[in-house]
Amino acid sequence: MPLGEASGPPQKGNRPMMNLHGVDVYLWHQGTPDVPKEYGAMRLLFISNRGTKVYPPPAPDMELLDWPRCRYLSDAEVTDADIDALVGHLTGLGWKWTKTQKLFRKDGVDQFSQPY
């Protein structure tokens, strides 16, 4: 049975756009990195490891892997260039990152999950 109707053109409408507010930077580093606490309008909200918050304290008593996630977030909207500058700054300080993910808000609602 063909299902062409089910996979029709994408829905369009007056949906609000997502606004950029920060970035998650995943580092290749064993332990909890001593990264800058802020950069521009963005501040370091937390560092998590395996999805669990390890900074700021209290840190859980758990084994840390070499893939901490550093969340930099701003209350105000930021630009792609701000994100590029932050990531470039971390690289300049010698941090090796493996993945980044931009953080959006839509109508003031976070479009990303929180750590445990």
């Binding site: 949906r15 997502m18 395996r50 999805g51 669990t52 209290p58 008593d61 479009q111 445990y116």
Partner: protein, 333 residues
């Protein structure tokens, strides 16, 4: 000397279940000093985290906890209290024994399987984003370390408990990197236990085989999401979530829990089956070295069920407290 145990009374029907279980354990003459710690909806309503840091610290200090079901608030920003406890206490092994209980008829006679579910990684790391307006992205995080310790825990359990077979369950035919890592480590660790027969199965095939060839299986070890689904499937085979116990182990502490929800619509009705929490408590007693009390309570539970004293989910009319009282009476008999 009394065993110290942290107690979370839970949400919804949780406090009623705990009361029944406390009554049975008292009748079994086990000396337990219950240390009540708070978590769940009441904490959220009081403006606290759903699992306060003080609760985490106390369970760490005591090392053992019994937890009644809790409710995960629905809405933005809410996290599961159950997953929070597992992650913050690093309770990496969710152990779910499923077996046929005399007096609880099911089509699966002779069912006797223990499922080891990795508890801290996989999609349950809850790392999620809207990548664009139209695309949601969840990070499935699997580590060598996470795989090693859950797989080793399963083989060690098999060795210590006379279990003959361990099967690793995955979907490495599709997720060749993440599940492929699990499968590679499973094969490496299996080679260290030559006396235990081992092989691997793909999760979908495993689910089919569970309901067609359940007697083939002994110990199953798997990743978080597959373990979540497969252990509820197995609980259904056992007779339902009302009779399925669960335990969460880390290297430093253990938390025992019924695997069902808080059944808020039955709150205060004295109706829900306390068997799952009671059997979880017997796992706790075993962990505490109280093996006679464990055996006594299980024997009293089975005797009660065989007499036809059952709660509504098993086709009976016993209340939560009445069922607990019937088991306690068997213990005193």
């Amino acid at each position: 000397m009394a065993h110290k145990v942290c107690l979370i009374r839970g949400d919804g029907t949780g406090p009623e279940l705990v009361a029944a279980v406390e009554h049975v354990i008292k009748a079994a003459k086990v000396d337990i000093e219950w240390i009540e710690v708070e978590a769940g909806l009441k904490c959220v309503e009081a403006g606290k985290p759903i699992v306060p840091d003080a609760t985490i610290q106390k369970i760490k200090e005591v090392g053992v906890g019994l937890k009644a079901p809790m409710t995960t608030p629905i809405g933005k920003g809410s996290v599961s209290p159950n997953v929070t406890l597992r992650k913050r206490l690093d309770l990496y092994a969710c152990v779910r024994p499923v077996r046929t209980l005399p007096g609880v008829p099911t089509p699966f006679d002779g069912l006797d399987i223990v499922i080891f579910r990795e508890n801290t990684e996989d999609l349950y790391a809850q790392i999620e984003y809207m990548a664009t307006e139209r695309v949601a992205h969840s990070v499935k995080m699997i580590s060598d370390f996470g795989c090693q310790r859950i797989i080793r825990a399963a083989f060690e359990y098999a060795r210590k408990n006379g279990r003959k077979k361990v099967v690793g369950v995955h979907k490495a035919n599709i997720m060749k990197i993440a599940d492929g890592l699990f499968l590679r480590i499973f094969k490496e660790i299996a080679a260290e236990y030559p006396e235990i027969e081992s092989w691997d199965n793909i999760i979908d095939n495993q689910c089919m085989q569970l309901v067609t060839k359940w007697k083939l299986y002994d110990v199953l070890v798997t990743l978080n999401l597959y373990g979540d689904i497969m252990s509820d499937l197995a609980a259904g085979m056992m007779g339902g979530l009302g009779v399925a116990p669960g335990a969460n182990f880390g290297d430093k502490c253990a938390l025992f829990e019924a695997v069902h929800g808080s059944a808020p619509k039955y709150t205060g009705m004295n109706k829900v089956n306390p068997t799952a929490l009671l059997l979880s408590a017997t796992l706790m007693l075993e962990h505490l070295g109280e093996k006679k009390a464990r055996d006594d309570i299980e024997g009293a539970l089975i005797a009660t069920l065989k007499k036809g004293v059952k709660t509504y989910d098993l086709g009976g009319s016993a209340t939560t407290s009445g069922f607990g009282e019937a088991i306690a009476s068997e213990l005193k008999a």
